[in-house]
Symmetry: C3
Subunit: 470 residues, 3 copies
């Protein structure tokens, strides 16, 4: 009585048959293009060591906050899902038990993108042809577990099989980048590059900030006792990251605030944030640092990404027991118009800068982001992010941003994930949704079909390479 | 030359024919499920006394702010519609005259849910088969008036005919609940329960607040001179409401603010709000009381509902002449992430609490509410509310909330109405829109059809019973 | 190898074939109705002088910030597009060179309304049948240039050919309205009226505000040393504008704030803003003036329009070199509920006032604007504005506003443009989108087809004449 698992070839295409026919044709032209993943959170150690993933639960459930937060919201304890604790106290360690809980609750994911990504992984990556449900839990576990022990499921083999042209990981300046070095030294041809995410040495609210900055200075051989030395350390580490293939920086600030202080003001602020800053000083320092990073980007050509406005670790009890990134991050309202002005006043018209803006506040798509990106040469719009990296989220983004910003002020797709096996599924969703959107424009005679083919290719492949300077 | 009135069997289903076929099949599986109405504003006296409704205008126009606000917005005086005045000065008293004005202006409701609800009442409840327009005004009036005089249109007969399994009314702790007692004493089998809405003794901005609290204490035999006594009175009245079938509380606050004060702070704040509180003190007291109510819900199992952020009685002239609830309530921006943190820090992870969140700020669906409900075990999302209890409002809710919160963190439908005759129409709209949404997921291969049937039933019936613990 | 340029007769209609058939039928009933353009920015000198437009670039690119901001956002310097500078330093003066740059970059407009408007101008106004691309740049330039030299492309001939019944321009009280006088004196029958936009004498943040006010007083022969004299000058100029056909005023404030000060407070505030006002005083004065303008509208019957909440000239470098209105205006969040209360407390219930509200913050459609307009007799909702005057913007407006405000609290379409040749295209987009929206209601059995025909006509023609008292 199990149900079949089928990935329908028309999935995500509009229902109307003429529109669907056009979407199919557009998709046929882009579905086999290589995957360029310019921003994400895969672990470079996977590609450096190329070891087998350990088991289905540790690969697909325990590290994936999309998955365990939904189970948790319906009463499944994180302990029962094997999520590790801050203090090392034990949680469930039997991956099969974890998997069975997941299977028992798989219906909770109906209507979510997680369901689509997971089904793709089950069907395409592992070749499973029955649906996940309590009765098939062990079949799934055994099938996946066996596959993971084979060479075909090692990270590099999957990288090649998935048609990945390039993947960017994200590291802090405190990272020695030894895995990236090992990858390059290994002779393997897969392109795995890093990205410069300086939050731990830019955000004074990071636990251990001052110690981080001192270590950051030491590895750069710069005296971070002065602001000039601190900035010089950034230049050192940015160059080090560029040598490891980085073409971009990434900034995860609680707001989009930017500032443009005088050197004396900045020096004095730096001294205060290295001591015991107020909340306002911390915010102003982050704001100032975005503008400093833009100035360095103008020099060294690194593309900036801004991912603002999330209330991190909103759930105090979950934070205390399980730590950060456990599904309790909640978006905040976004504001870009006033916040970005100091930075844009200096660099908004400079074609050497590319600043890619992301948001979790979809209201800003049509109100703020599209008008800004439709005017300033330095700005581009990142794709729908995190909670909105989903069919409806993608549809809303195109519907709300395109008429003002056009297609060419957007930058293709980011999977932004640590769930390596789902990467092709995520790009597939984006390509299908974009083709469906374009097909609707064609069928409503808002765009000619030959143009839609060009745009589909741009959205799937060309724009990401241009925007990220790959 | 009158036009026919027809309720098309496919109404509200998507236009695409394959999608429509699936929607029809899904709807066939849920259309005859009983109506569970866990939150609304019908008058329990109707069911206690089971008297005939007086006339068409007094039943369908005079008490319905959806109806008379639209007429008023286009220049029809509320006096001419018979809306009663605060000072008792007379307004139009001839129901036929009121009805004719309504008929003359019925075109104003084109494209609104009121039009759909009213047409259902006319066609299904009263069997009328021509459209309401000036030429049919008297036909309508006479038909409805005659029907209302028959036993089939008494409240209990309609309750049974409508297939209502349970209806919850909403009362303040100052209410003796004598109608609910009368219903139970009558031997009639209809389930009419109350819900605990303590705003008049929780919101210091309520006119007569301190007197309300004293009366609240007296009926509980508690000394509300102390905060402990005040809380004990809540416990007494909550128990009294539970004895009258209540499984839920409801809170209509101007914001979602919550607080978690120390006992000493709360005691001192209570003393101030019983005297002459500032606006900030009133807000803080409401905030503290949400957390206190959550604490009591953890004890007694009552489900909390929060309906925040409305500017009540925005129109000063209408308020002065006609009083509250006269169509001049206007939504305010919502904010939940920071506002709910104090309450969630204490009870967000407690499976004994269910807190159902409503909003009139649709921006918060995808930005705040779905991420919160998709993580915290204690949170659920209420259905689209008030202005958004409409086809487009329901579509937006599902499109924006489902991908992050799933279906199972929502709680089915609330009609939330005092317009008793429209209750089946409102549930019908919700079931049709949900089936249409699910059909689209099926036709786009985002959900299998067997699953869609399960979800349709959950949305129409199962989830509301679970969430409200019925 | 050029591509054909075709305006498909079904453009913008929904894909579903039954829905499209209904949309076609609705559109057939409204497509030939006269154009009523109650708010826009065409230059009355065109109609007064009836001279030929000079060349394709000066007509279609150089003055159109929709066009050059998109090119600029992708790195085309405004200098290369011939945008004039503040200091008169030369920019590109060869219209053919400008046109070629435009043709080279025409793909940037894919998916934007500018593309639809321009294609209409090319195909319908100029009869061109190949697509604009680099290879056809000169063909386009030569064809348009030659046409502009013919009598058929003079402003009055186009006005007649376009089927324009009335067009309103927008002038400041400092304008002598001599072009409007010349039009009336000329014997030409085209109805070109003005509208009263007093921002330069109402907004203390306008450069030269005090001097403006003094000139405003002199031409009115009023002593603007007192607030009473200042208000009297408004009355004088409003009467002067009404004599030039004006039926409306227009207010472009940075927020929707209104105030209702006592005469003494207002007098004192006026004295301060004529000297050196703080930002708060300037804001309060603008707020007070909206209420004063409403009071005058109650007297003289002029309809008020409020276009709030834009960060004007956000790009400091573009402002310094090229001046205002150069594509760098960015929307701000809107707030109407608290902001409008002082004005509404006085005039919201007065049927003599019509206040038409516009917004660039689409979140306010369902949250604030539709509830306000669905209640207050004095309020109406303006159509989607500026960035949202587009197919998706119009769809969102109808989807979000109709269920609460209905159709009859909206006021038809505004083209709001200075791009004269695009006016028929813009009205055509609005009529098509409205017919498509109505067709969807019909096919979903939410509205009967005979009613949809009535509503389509109201949206295209009747409501604008009623609302603007034309």
């Amino acid at each position: 009585m199990t149900q079949p698992l089928r990935l329908h070839p028309d999935r995500l295409f509009p229902a109307d048959i003429r529109t669907r026919d056009i979407a199919r044709a557009l998709h046929a032209g882009v579905k086999d293009l290589p995957i360029v993943s310019p921003h994400g959170h895969t672990d470079p150690a996977w590609f450096a060591r190329d070891e087998a993933f350990s088991d289905p639960a540790s690969l697909l459930i325990v590290p994936d906050h999309y998955v365990f937060r939904m189970l948790y919201s319906q009463g499944v304890p994180l302990d029962a899902l094997g999520v590790p604790t801050v203090d090392g106290s034990p949680t469930e360690s039997d991956p099969r038990k974890i998997w069975r809980i997941f299977a028992d609750n798989y219906h909770l994911f109906r209507g979510t993108p997680s369901r689509m990504w997971l089904d793709w992984v089950f069907a395409e990556a592992f070749g499973i042809d029955v649906r996940l449900e309590p009765a098939t839990a062990d079949l799934y576990f055994d099938t996946i577990d066996a596959a993971l022990k084979t060479p075909a499921f090692r990270p590099r083999a999957l990288f090649d099989r998935f048609g990945i042209e390039l993947i960017a990981t994200t590291e802090s300046p405190l990272d020695p980048l030894e895995h990236h070095a090992a990858i390059r030294a290994s002779g393997w041809q897969g392109r795995v590059v890093t990205a410069y995410r300086p939050d731990p040495v830019v955000d004074p609210d990071t636990p251990g900030f001052a110690a981080n900055v001192r270590r950051f200075g030491e590895t750069a051989n710069e005296d971070v006792g002065s602001y000039a030395g601190y900035l010089a350390a950034h230049r050192f580490h940015r160059a080090r990251f560029r040598a490891a293939g980085a073409t971009s920086t990434d900034h995860g600030h609680p707001s989009s605030a930017t500032a443009d202080l005088t050197p004396a003001e900045a020096e004095s602020l730096y001294a205060r944030v290295m001591a015991d800053p107020t909340a306002a000083e911390a915010e102003l320092f982050r704001a100032q640092m975005l503008t400093e990073m833009a100035a360095m980007s103008v020099e060294d050509g690194m593309v900036m990404q801004l991912h603002p406005a999330v209330s991190r670790s909103h759930n105090a009890q979950v934070l205390a027991r399980f730590g950060r990134d456990k599904g309790g991050d909640i978006p905040l309202p976004g504001e870009f118009v006033r916040a970005l002005k100091p930075l844009l006043d200096r660099f908004g018209n400079d074609p050497r800068l590319t600043l890619i803006l992301f948001t979790l506040d979809e209201d800003t798509y049509s109100r703020e982001l599209a008008p800004l990106a439709g005017h300033y040469p330095a700005l581009r719009l990142g794709p729908p992010w995190w909670f909105h990296d989903s069919p409806e989220g993608m549809r809303r983004f195109r519907e709300r941003a395109t008429e003002t910003a056009g297609f060419y002020n957007t930058v293709g797709f980011n999977d932004d994930t640590r769930a390596f096996l789902s990467i092709p599924a995520r790009h597939d969703v984006a390509r299908r949704m974009d083709c469906g959107f374009l097909a609707q424009l064609v069928v409503e005679h808002r765009l000619e079909e030959d143009e839609a083919h060009e745009v589909a290719r741009a959205l799937a492949y060309d724009l990401v390479k241009q925007a990220y300077r790959l």
